[in-house]
């Protein structure tokens, strides 16, 4: 048995925090819990976690700021806990660096599934070449590395990296949002397409010379996305 994954719970309601800790411990995770964003950053730099669970409504530093601060420090997968799915909160949270979200009141099984999807290793892609080059970039799926030809690494999160790998390995074929949701996040047909859109937007700012006029990650109207070298 491998070392259990460490999950940092950032939640100000003590009862929710305790019950989540109990439930997730039952699933075999090691839990670290804090009640505020400030504490979360402190704890994280002392004991980096494998995944952070951040409530958006926190006293003091709010969840968005907490996500941004964590993201500045690390590529740790972040799941935000939000009140509503149909507000700008979700998109704002994703743009602040979150990888996924759950809505309160959530079912622990659902949360467990989201956590597992983010923690699993990058899907091995058999047909894909060892190094995929596009523009002046090189993607090395097996090493989990995205770098410029001159060797400087482009920092991206696990989710961004996986998304890029999926697009790269489909060899210029269009992937629909549903396919990407399924392969990267483990969602079914009814997953939230905004997850894909926000991550694509973030990826573009990292790899496109001009994110407003993308040359590599193209939108195919009404169908999905594709990567062109």
């Amino acid at each position: 048995m491998s070392v259990p994954s460490r999950i940092l719970i950032v939640e100000d309601d003590e009862r929710i925090r305790s019950s989540m800790k109990l439930a997730l411990e039952g699933e075999g995770y090691e839990i670290d819990e804090v009640a505020s964003g400030e504490e979360a950053l402190e704890r994280f730099s002392a004991h980096p976690a494998d995944l952070a669970l951040v409530d958006l409504m926190l006293p003091g530093m709010d969840g968005f700021e907490c996500c941004r601060a964590l993201r500045r420090e690390s590529a740790v997968p972040i799941i935000i806990v939000t009140a509503r799915t149909d507000t700008h909160d979700v998109v704002a949270g994703l743009e602040a660096g979150a990888d996924d979200y759950v809505t309160k009141p959530f079912v622990t099984k659902e949360l467990g599934a989201r956590i597992r999807a983010l923690l699993r290793r990058v899907r091995p892609v058999d047909e894909a070449p060892r190094i995929i080059a596009f523009g002046d970039l090189e993607l090395v799926p097996e090493e989990g590395v995205l770098r410029h030809k001159d060797g400087t690494e482009v920092h991206c999160t696990k989710t961004e990296f996986r998304l890029l790998c999926e697009l790269a390995s489909s060899q210029s074929k269009v992937l629909s949002r549903e396919q990407l949701l399924d392969r990267v996040w483990g969602y079914d047909y009814f997953g939230d397409g905004r997850l894909v859109d926000v991550h694509i937007r973030r990826l573009r700012t990292k790899i496109e010379p001009d994110p407003a006029l993308p040359r590599h990650i193209l939108t195919v109207r009404g169908m999905g996305y594709k990567l062109v070298p």
């Binding site: 309601d13 009862r15 929710i16 305790s18 019950s19 989540m20 109990l22 439930a23 039952g26 009140a83 509503r84 799915t85 149909d86 507000t87 309160k104 009141p105 959530f106 079912v107 622990t108 099984k109 949002r177 079914d188 047909y189 009814f190 939230d192 397409g193 905004r194 894909v196 859109d197 694509i200 937007r201 407003a212 006029l213 993308p214 193209l218 939108t219 195919v220 109207r221 009404g222 169908m223 999905g224």
Partner: protein
């Protein structure tokens, strides 16, 4: 209305002045005729005392007054100062009244269509009587001119009245029209509607400000109510999250519990989940009520959408629920729908859950084309069950919140949230579609939703529709 009033008024005023004038004129003419006749009678009686030439006397008398004919009766013999008419032109009643009665009298009458005044004056000195007939048709002409003038006046006044009335009523009813328009808008749900300020008019300013105050209060109450529902649901979510998480911990260790405790845990779990769904539904509905619901539309293939939604819904239903037969009309292929997938999934799962709770499970889900032309068609999705069906009286009411029909007390009673179909109606409404219940061919209930093929604002799909920027 105003024109009618003007018409009635001017007609009655016209008639009144016509008849008054006519009366006065006729009176005047009559008294003039009477005094003329008396003067002539005096002249005739005096003249006859001096000469015995009756004819000449009468002719002279005849000439004194215009348009008149003089007659003299003396012991049954008639003399006349005119050749145009005979004494028969004098009404018989007047003749006898004057000759036998010995009283002076006058009478207005019509002779061959022309108005006449006949005056008779007894002349005692000769045991006779003097008669004179006055032709007053000139008076008739005057009256005709007057009549014509009045008719023209009536018409003009009516037309003016109508025009004025239109203007005045438009002006005075304008505030009422705007109040009624505002009330219709408010009833239609547009609570932001207010009347424009009418500071210039003190009467209207009072109406406007009290109307606007009323709407302010109404809006505040409605918003407060929606906020309350939303706040309550929000507050319930924290304890529910704790409950649900703790419950799952207990469930994961249920093997170590006694059978009674395990049964109790099952009951607890079932109701906590129902509670969770109910709070979720309440939140969703309060969002709809407060108008803050957001819809994000995507272009999808209707057949695939429905198949996927049925499969997803099936996972939330009891394991022994037989999956319904999904039938997609070949006509539907090639059409596209713009839907919010999350909301559509909820629509289907609520309809299937409803069928499972009250109709013994859904038997068929059909996808077909609705109304439309060319490539733009609405799409209908119907869910049928093999249950007892819905009585016609309940077919509308089932979409009300917490409505419990007769079926709700049978098998599975109390396991729904009571909001499932109300939410279906809300989600469908947000899509600009329709939902209704009817009887299936099998006798069971049939719920049909119809979604428009192309919504007015279809460009909500921010990324995929956004393109790659200017080419």
């Amino acid at each position: 209305m105003f024109a009618l009033g003007a018409l009635v008024l001017s007609v009655s005023m016209g008639a009144l002045s016509y008849f008054t004038t006519r009366h006065i004129l006729v009176d005047q003419r009559e008294s003039a005729a009477v005094s003329d006749a008396f003067v002539n009678a005096t002249y005739v009686s005096q003249h006859l005392a001096a000469t015995a030439n009756i004819d000449e006397t009468l002719t002279t008398a005849n000439k004194v007054t215009q348009y008149s004919h003089s007659f003299l009766e003396e012991r049954g013999t008639w003399y006349r100062g005119t050749l145009q008419v005979t004494q028969d032109a004098i009404p018989a009643s007047l003749r006898s009244m004057v000759i036998t009665g010995g009283i002076a009298a006058s009478q207005t009458y019509s002779l061959h269509g022309t108005p006449q005044i006949a005056v008779g004056v007894p002349i005692k000195s000769i045991h006779g009587a003097y008669f004179e007939i006055f032709d007053i048709s000139s008076l008739g002409h005057t009256l005709n001119v007057l009549e014509l003038a009045l008719v023209v006046l009536v018409v003009v006044i009516t037309a003016l009245g109508a025009a004025f009335g239109r203007w005045a009523s438009g002006r005075s009813l304008h505030p009422l029209t705007s109040v009624s328009r505002a009330a219709v808008a408010i009833a239609g749900g547009d609570l932001g509607t207010r009347l424009a300020s009418t500071a210039g008019d003190p009467d209207l300013a009072a109406l406007t400000s009290s109307f606007n105050r009323m709407v302010d209060q109404l809006q505040e109450r409605i918003e407060r109510e929606a906020r309350f529902t939303s706040d309550v649901s929000h507050e319930l979510r924290s304890p529910l999250t704790t409950l649900a998480a703790s419950l799952e911990v207990l469930e994961s260790q249920s093997e170590s519990l006694t059978p009674q405790a395990r049964r109790a845990l099952e009951l607890l779990a079932a109701d906590v989940r129902r509670f969770q769904r109910m709070v979720g539904d309440l939140l969703e509905i309060s969002r709809s009520d407060s108008g803050s619901a957001e819809i994000s539309l995507e272009e999808v293939d209707p057949g695939e959408l429905v198949r996927r939604a049925v499969a997803a819904a099936q996972r939330t239903l009891p394991i022994d629920t037989a999956p319904p037969h999904v039938e997609v009309d070949p006509e539907v292929h090639g059409t596209h729908l713009w839907v919010d997938k999350r909301r559509f999934e909820r629509i289907m799962s609520n309809l299937l859950e409803n069928a499972s709770l009250y109709g013994g499970g859904a038997t068929a889900v059909r996808v077909s084309l609705g109304n439309g032309s060319g490539p733009v068609h609405s799409v209908r999705v119907s869910v049928e069950d093999a249950g007892p069906g819905l009585p016609p009286a309940e077919r509308m009411r089932v979409f009300e919140r917490f409505y419990r029909g007769h079926a709700a007390f049978k098998r599975g009673a109390g396991t729904g949230t009571g909001l499932g179909l109300a939410l279906v109606a809300e989600h469908v409404r947000l899509h600009g579609g329709k939902v209704w219940a009817e009887e299936a061919d099998s006798g069971g209930a049939k719920f049909t939703i119809e979604l428009p093929g192309q919504p007015a604002e279809a460009a909500e799909d921010e990324e995929l529709v956004g393109g790659n920027g200017p080419a």
